[in-house]
Symmetry: C2
Subunit: 102 residues, 2 copies
């Protein structure tokens, strides 16, 4: 079973690491307990909508960007897409036809 909280946790952690921030910094800014944020990142706790809004704000990332990334990753898990961030092969072929000839 695909669990949304697992993907939300992964995405929150990836954004945090991308920004070079520690759990402690983000938890402090978001006013959530460090242990709780850690559990959310590991997909062990559901983040309430209020917590999610606070953490997104602390990360300076729009909630929409988090949810879309979650949707993209779940699409891969559901087998609806092979790569979430890569241009499909047939699209690349269509715009660069010579690429497929070599």
């Amino acid at each position: 079973m695909i669990l949304v909280r697992q993907e939300i946790g992964d995405v929150l952690r990836d954004f945090r690491l991308q920004k070079g921030r520690t759990l402690r910094q983000v938890a402090g800014k978001a006013s959530v307990a460090l242990g709780y944020l850690s559990e959310v990142e590991r997909g062990q706790k559901e983040a309430s909508s209020e917590i999610l809004a606070s953490v997104a704000d602390a990360l300076d990332v729009p909630i929409s960007m988090i949810m879309r990334e979650v949707g993209d990753r779940i699409a891969v898990l559901e087998g609806l897409e092979v790569f979430s961030d890569v241009v499909p092969d047939d699209f690349a072929t269509a715009i660069e036809p010579e690429l497929s000839l070599h």
Copy 2:
């Protein structure tokens, strides 16, 4: 404050109505209490990841489609997009350039 559960509720209800199903039908197929599903749809209760997976399955809608629609609607609420289906997905990234710098 933008609450994800409100958007999730709206999206679940819209998909249900689009499919012409009643609350009772979906709640029964997903094995969740009718009153609980009703509260989720109205944004009054957070749906756990397990409930969300069951309801998505009962609606025959991929979870990724639900989460992407939630992301699109929140982008509009965040003022990142005027129309969710018109502006390219990378628009949000383009106006948050600092994300890729850290």
